[in-house]
């Protein structure tokens, strides 16, 4: 962009030179003001015709512009052209991919019926497997619950038997204690103490 601006500025400067009249050039050569020459309005012929100079001037301008264009403009436009080519190539590639995708989609849509049938079959098989698994799991849980219940019943039975046995023993002992107490006279009581003393005498220390 900067290069283009430079070219334009150079062109404007060159074109601006064209506005200078031959009178201006003569006045400049004699050291007089330009407007004085215009007042006289007489053509001055000095050497070659002015047109030739114009052409020479134009030729120099064109040579400069051509040089600048060749140095700055050509690479710029080449770069620009390469970019455009790349964009075209990318667009082409994208289009090709989109076409391929569209083709694949169309193919899938065409096979949708088969796909649905396959999915249904899979789902059905999966459901059957799941049902079997759940059945097995339920049977396992049932067996566990049954075993646990049996164990609990056995434990409760054992505890009840123990409690009953303890209660029966307590009743029997209480009954025995009552009978012994009521039937024990002084002589028997002394006899028990004597027996205890005899037992102590038998104990080895």
């Amino acid at each position: 962009m900067a290069k283009l601006i430079l070219i334009l500025v150079t062109a404007i400067v060159c074109l601006a030179q064209e506005h200078a009249t031959p009178g201006d050039a003569h006045a400049a050569a004699n050291g007089e003001p330009a407007h004085k020459t215009e007042e006289t309005a007489e053509p001055i012929v000095w050497g070659l015709d002015l047109t030739v100079w114009k052409w020479i001037n134009f030729g120099i301008l064109m040579a400069g512009v051509g040089y600048l264009f060749a140095k700055q403009g050509v690479p710029f436009f080449q770069e620009r052209a390469a970019g455009i080519l790349k964009d075209i190539s990318d667009a082409q590639k994208t289009k090709t991919e989109a076409d391929a995708r569209a083709a694949e989609l169309e193919s899938r849509i065409a096979n949708l019926g088969d796909e649905i049938a396959r999915m249904q079959a899979d789902a059905q098989a999966e459901m059957q497997n799941e049902a079997k698994r759940m059945e097995a799991e339920t049977a396992q849980s049932l067996a566990k619950v049954q075993a646990s219940a049996e164990q609990e019943i056995a434990s409760a039975t054992k505890q009840a038997k123990a409690e009953l046995s303890a209660h029966a023993a307590a009743l029997a002992i209480d009954l025995a204690a009552g009978r012994i107490r009521s039937g024990l006279n002084e002589g028997q009581s002394r006899g028990l103490v004597s027996a205890f003393i005899q037992d102590l005498e038998k104990v080895k220390n």
Partner: protein, 182 residues
């Protein structure tokens, strides 16, 4: 814990009391300690003062000295009270007394027996029982007797940590265990 501490004090006291030059008899010290323990049980205020950190040690020692003098305590007992108070163990006095009793019994070769019967024992039986217990413990027996109707019949003798159970109640309890355990 408290028993171990009490044991340390009682053994130290025994060393003092059983020294040949000590004029005080162990029985005297036990009697003194019984009196002090009884006084402390009768007066919670006294215990509170002796335990209070707000009361100086000198004041506590003075108080114990006066108390011992009033109860006719021996100098050995008074000194023990002061030492125990200085160490903040005055509440262990009862345990120290019991432990000292055990130490004294041990040194005298005496074992104390607690005999419980359902009916009062005849003197002859008591002699026989004490002889049997003496043979078992290897010490002379100092027995105390008490009655308990719950025994139904027979007797229970406790010597130290050993219990000889010859009561009907004990035999019924054994029978009950056998019945329950099958």
């Amino acid at each position: 814990m408290s028993l171990a501490v009490a044991s340390r004090y009682s053994r130290a006291l025994a060393e003092v009391v059983f020294a040949p030059q000590c004029p005080t008899k162990p029985e005297q010290v036990i009697a003194d300690l019984d009196a002090v323990v009884a006084a402390m049980q009768a007066s919670p205020e006294l215990v509170r003062i002796l335990r209070s950190p707000a009361v100086s040690l000198n004041a506590k020692r003075g108080l114990l000295e006066k108390l011992s003098a009033r109860l006719g305590g021996s100098p050995v007992t008074t000194n023990l009270l002061k030492v125990v108070c200085d160490h903040g163990r005055i509440t262990l006095l009862k345990e120290i007394r019991q432990s000292f009793q055990s130490v004294v019994d041990e040194r005298h070769g005496v074992a104390r027996a607690e005999v419980t019967t359902a009916q009062p024992m005849a003197t002859e039986q008591k002699i026989q029982l004490e002889a049997a217990l003496s043979r078992l413990s290897g010490k002379s027996i100092l027995a105390t007797y008490q009655q308990d109707d719950a025994l139904i019949g027979g007797a229970v003798a406790k010597v130290g940590s050993l219990i000889y159970d010859g009561s009907v109640r004990g035999q019924l309890a054994t029978l009950r265990r056998k019945l329950v355990n099958g």
